[in-house]
């Protein structure tokens, strides 16, 4: 029997284009920061986000609502950024810029290079925590790990950085 003119609660699978666009616009800056941190440059970072969202648009029907939509998107962005980080980068206009310190001593404490030396999981956890402001649960969903593992990973990263930076300070 077909129902007509009645409100039927339906289990919708997938995400709508509007939902994706809304999250894209709201969180764009955070996505790019994290992707830029993983890929090592703003331009490839931006590229990773654009391609990640293109993938999300194409595969939006496969989103099963097992977790939040944002976490699903983060997972795609991080995977895309990882993929790009492995690819040899194209030279772009950005690379020919002379970096402007703008009154600030760049990487004064060597923090960028210290972060770069951390294991991949620790780095990504740091980026998601500090560049994307995600909570532990969201980080866990994004990276496909346990919440407890996020906590331990962050703690280990902090400890490593603290040691290295204190050495520099001395």
């Amino acid at each position: 029997m077909r129902l007509r003119g009645t409100h039927v609660s339906v289990w919708h699978r997938g995400a709508s284009l509007e939902q994706l666009e809304s999250l894209y616009r709201q969180r764009y800056e955070h996505f790019v920061r994290v992707a830029a941190a993983i890929t090592g440059g703003a331009e490839p970072g931006r590229d990773a986000v654009q391609h990640a969202f293109a993938t999300a648009v194409s595969k939006r029907k496969s989103y099963r609502r097992a977790g939040s939509l944002e976490a699903w998107l983060w997972r795609i962005v991080v995977n895309e950024a990882r993929r790009l980080a492995r690819e040899p980068q194209l030279a772009s206009l950005e690379e020919s810029y002379e970096p402007s310190a703008n009154g600030r001593v760049p990487d004064e404490l060597g923090i960028r290079s210290r972060i770069a030396a951390l294991p991949e999981r620790q780095r990504e956890t740091l980026f998601l925590r500090y560049y994307a402001d995600l909570d532990y649960r969201a980080i866990a969903e994004t990276l496909g790990i346990q919440v407890g593992t996020v906590s331990a990973t962050l703690s280990a990263a902090h400890e490593t950085l603290r040691k290295l930076m204190n050495e520099v300070e001395r």
Partner: protein
């Protein structure tokens, strides 16, 4: 002990400015959805034309050892893209070239890149290319329905420096007369029959995507170039975005949008790098070789006869020099007397480029470098819409000049015989020229060079009559109001005498008020006429405007929706009683702004 969390957050702040702005359209293109949309748009005729581009040749002989890559223009820089043109075409080019004293070097070889046929106008558009010294040129040859030829050049040095995967050289160049028309304020504009956008691509680029009002169009990169022809475009149809596709990736291409008849300078938010302060003050410099009558360059006699008279007028010595051998620009520098003869008091510079000439003029010799060791002017003479030319004179104190661009790049400015000239990419403005002495000290900093376009300008639609006034002598001023492109309003003032319009003045603003509370003008503002009309805009909190006259009289008017237009009474059109100032007052009568109109100095 260091706070790790704080250090990490500081690092976040340092990266915050590098994210750019979101572009959902690009996401949809990447996801393949825009193509679906584009198919639905029957109006996308141009895409059809682009898709039917006739590939004449794709051979790219490259006699170079430089490795080909995605990030360079090796074929353009070291080889020859496309295929040779026919012998007769080459001969026609050589003959035309030989007739011009500003021609390309003999032996310049044309290469055929792409041909597109526009069925609507019956025009064949050939994109040719060639290298000439330090420049790379694209030449459009139109035949059939529309006949025209135009050449646009870009400096190779800039291409080497930028290293982007694609460069737009020609943007929205209009040809012929189209059928579409549109009103902008007080004027109706007609669209061209076709608009052409073209550029070059790096060796690994396979396709280019352009986006304009009619949709997104994918173009095959052929012979290391691309060509987009918009057929019967709308009046305001302009290319807004360009991407290149490399493998599965899309990369955005930076370019400067086409300047239009309505382009106005925007307030720029970008800062300009490079030194802004002079380290050693140099005033009263000279051009030594000219003062010593040294025969540098060529004689003034090489200037074509039709232009020679102007250059030689009152000149007692002069030479033609070349600031940059790779550019088709010549400069005649002369020492001149006044029209009555006597001492040498003037120094003239006359500039000749592909458009003819001469442009330029004379300055008092002793005052030319009075304020600094370089003088410059800004124009569009490269032929490419993407480059703005900055050129000028430098005193002997200057050893080198460097252009600092908004993106952090810097470029050495070609300087020879005290004349300099450089083409700067408009997409990387604002820029600043800085002059150095032999010790490397900054001795000259020119004002910031800003691009045109992007500011508030008239939006599509006809302006409506808002107010009018008639002077005691019968001249008439009408004030029209229309929308601006940035969400504000445009004000049009049309003056007519004896029933015939004598001129329009346009000023546009953004959605929010910027600047002083009163922006009023007195008409006419030039000596010897006293102000007859007062017209302009006031901020919303100005509810009364007090007019003050030279004889001490005052009168008050009320702005209407922030606009003011009034004719000055006959009693105040005489010497000693004319309008000299206005004061804006708020609801409580408190003065919140004023403007002075200097009385004519009689």
């Amino acid at each position: 002990m260091i706070d790790v969390e704080k250090a990490l957050r500081d690092e976040l702040d340092a990266l915050a400015s590098a994210t750019g702005s979101p572009d959902w359209d690009e996401v949809l293109v990447l996801a393949g959805r825009a193509r679906v949309r584009a198919r639905r748009r029957r109006a996308a005729l141009a895409a059809l034309i682009a898709a039917t581009a006739l590939v004449v040749a794709v051979a790219t002989p490259l006699g170079s050892t430089i490795a080909r890559g995605l990030n360079d223009f090796s074929t353009w820089l070291t080889g020859q893209p496309g295929s040779p043109v026919t012998e007769s075409e080459q001969r026609a080019f050589d003959e035309t070239n030989a007739r011009s004293w500003l021609g390309f070097p003999a032996g310049t070889k044309l290469r055929r890149l792409i041909r597109v046929i526009d069925p609507e106008s019956g025009t064949t558009i050939d994109l040719l290319g060639f290298r000439s010294g330090g420049t790379l040129c694209l030449r459009l040859e139109l035949s059939g329905g529309i006949r025209s030829t135009t050449t646009s050049c870009a400096p190779l040095a800039e291409l080497r420096r930028a290293g982007a995967p694609a460069r737009v050289i020609i943007i929205d160049r209009g040809f012929g007369k189209g059928t579409k028309r549109a009103w902008y304020g007080l004027e109706q504009f007609r669209a061209p029959a076709i608009k052409v956008t073209a550029g070059i691509v790096a060796d690994g680029v396979r396709s280019v995507i352009v986006n304009d009002r009619s949709g997104k169009h994918t173009l095959r990169a052929v012979s290391d170039a691309f060509l987009y022809v918009a057929s019967n475009p709308d009046v305001d149809q302009r290319v807004r975005r360009v991407w290149v596709r490399i493998g599965k990736r899309l990369l955005p291409v930076k370019f400067a949008p086409a300047l239009t008849f309505l382009s106005m300078t925007p307030p720029t938010q970008l800062s300009v790098p490079g030194p802004a302060r002079v380290e050693r003050y140099v005033r009263g410099g000279k051009i030594g070789w000219l003062e010593r009558y040294e025969p540098r360059g060529r004689s003034l006699d090489i200037v074509p006869a039709g232009m020679r008279g102007r250059v030689k007028r009152h000149a007692i010595f002069g030479r033609v020099v070349v600031p940059d051998p790779s550019r088709r620009v010549r400069v005649a520098l002369t020492l001149s007397t006044s029209r009555n003869g006597g001492k040498v008091t003037g120094l003239c510079s006359w500039w000749f480029d592909r458009r003819g000439g001469p442009s330029g003029g004379c300055a008092i010799r002793s005052k030319l470098f009075y304020e600094g060791p370089i003088t410059s002017s800004f124009g569009m003479i490269s032929g490419s819409d993407q480059f703005a030319t900055v050129a000028g004179l430098a005193s002997d104190d200057v050893t080198r000049i460097v252009a600092f661009l908004a993106n952090g790049q810097r470029a050495a400015v070609p300087l020879a015989d005290n004349v300099f000239l450089i083409d700067l990419p408009r997409a990387q403005l604002p820029a600043r020229l800085v002059a150095y002495d032999t010790a490397g000290r900054v001795i000259g900093v020119e004002p910031v060079i800003r691009d045109l376009g992007g500011g508030a300008s008239p939006a599509r639609g006809r302006a409506r009559l808002f107010s009018k006034a008639v002077s005691p002598a019968g001249s008439r001023v009408e004030l029209y109001v229309g929308k601006s492109t940035t969400g504000g309003l445009c004000m049009y003032v049309r003056e007519s005498r004896g029933g015939r319009p004598s001129g329009n003045m346009v000023s546009c603003s953004g959605a929010t008020w910027e600047g002083p509370s009163l922006t009023l003008s007195a008409y006419p503002s030039m000596y010897p006429d006293p102000p007859v009309f007062l017209v302009g805009r006031v901020r919303a909190d100005v509810v009364k405007v007090e007019l003050r006259f030279a004889d001490g009289a005052r009168t008050t008017i009320r702005p209407k929706s922030g606009f003011v237009l009034c004719a000055i009474a006959k009693t105040h059109l005489e010497e000693g009683s004319e309008l000299v100032a206005v004061v804006g007052r708020d609801e409580q009568g408190k003065p919140i702004g004023s403007q002075r109109f200097k009385p004519p100095n009689r």
